[in-house]
């Protein structure tokens, strides 16, 4: 599939900007997304299905979000598509997490 993810040779991307002494993860949520991705059993989805979920991201969203945000997006999409939970359950989990965060603030 041709799309924004196919970046080889594309112009206008600017300098590379490597980070000095870069940590493995830049935020705790990145650790958690990485671990979730690795821990979900391989029988739920395969790497090509994950790849396809990334390739279906909108170009603007793809370029404006970080690497582990791509993963988060794909995990949400795939779990729903694979029938592991309903979109409504995910939305309920969002409001629970928000309430918990407010409650502990």
């Amino acid at each position: 599939m041709n799309g924004i993810h196919d970046l080889g040779g594309m112009h206008g991307m600017g300098p590379v900007n490597p980070e000095t002494d870069e940590p493995v993860f830049h935020a705790d949520w990145e650790r958690r997304v990485f671990a979730l991705m690795m821990a979900i059993p391989g029988s739920v989805y395969n790497i090509d299905e994950f790849r396809h979920a990334i390739e279906r991201m909108e170009a603007a969203e793809y370029l404006s979000t970080s690497y582990y945000e791509h993963w988060l997006h794909c995990l949400e999409v795939l779990m729903i598509e694979k029938g592991q939970f309903e979109r409504a359950e995910l939305e309920a989990a969002w409001s629970n997490a928000a309430s918990a965060a407010n409650g502990s603030a």
Binding site: L7, G9, G14, D28, L36, E69, F85, A101
Partner: protein, 199 residues
């Protein structure tokens, strides 16, 4: 497509991740202990220190180097490294005539067992776009000047096949043992965006 029935995800990414994690735990798809073990492994145990040992062995043992270049996966396994994202490995050797550079233009494929998880710049648009079209300019940004007449080879990694660069052994390291050599080898030198310096 308007999804009027749908709530937008929270703008706070950490909250969104917490929600997903709690749902996956509740469904029994993942277990908390497993998540912690995975994080521990990739944050502390797997990293370029592994690849550096492979390089140091190749510099010290010509037979090992021959095995590594002929069929990298089993040669790397001799040192105990292998598994996820390193199932099929190819090692490419830098020489006085050839400089090798790794990229994954489509995403982030990278040899995890020997280099750990890739840095952000490796996964970001500028490097992926430019490494294949103007590798010498990219190398210059990393402070590496490749002489005219030296061929630059760029290897585009895939989900199935991962590369690692065997950097050139620097002059003045003849007397060093494997541990001392490994200490000189950087992550960037095994991606091909740096050379190994003797001090």
């Amino acid at each position: 497509m308007a999804d009027h029935d749908h709530t937008e995800p929270p703008s706070d990414t950490a909250l969104r991740v917490k929600a997903l994690e709690s749902l996956l735990l509740e469904k029994g798809l993942v277990e908390a202990d497993t998540l912690d073990a995975i994080i521990q492994l990739y944050e502390h145990n797997v990293g370029p220190q592994n690849g550096a040992k492979v390089v140091a062995r190749a510099w010290s043992d010509p037979d090992y180097k021959a095995r590594l270049l002929a069929d990298a996966t089993p040669a790397i396994a001799e040192l105990g490294y292998g598994g996820v994202q390193g199932e099929d490995m190819v090692v490419v050797e830098n020489t006085s005539d050839v400089h090798n550079l790794l990229v994954c233009t489509l995403c982030s494929c990278y040899p995890w067992p020997v280099l750990g998880l890739p840095p952000v710049w490796y996964k970001a648009a500028p490097y992926r776009a430019r490494a294949v079209s103007e590798p010498r300019a990219v190398l210059k940004e990393f402070g590496v000047e490749i002489r005219e007449g030296v061929e630059v080879r760029v290897w585009d990694s895939t989900a199935e096949l991962r590369y690692m660069v065997l950097p050139e052994r620097p002059a003045g390291t003849e007397g060093l043992g494997e541990d001392e050599l490994a200490a000189l080898v950087t992550r960037d030198s095994m991606i091909g965006v740096a050379l190994v310096e003797s001090t």
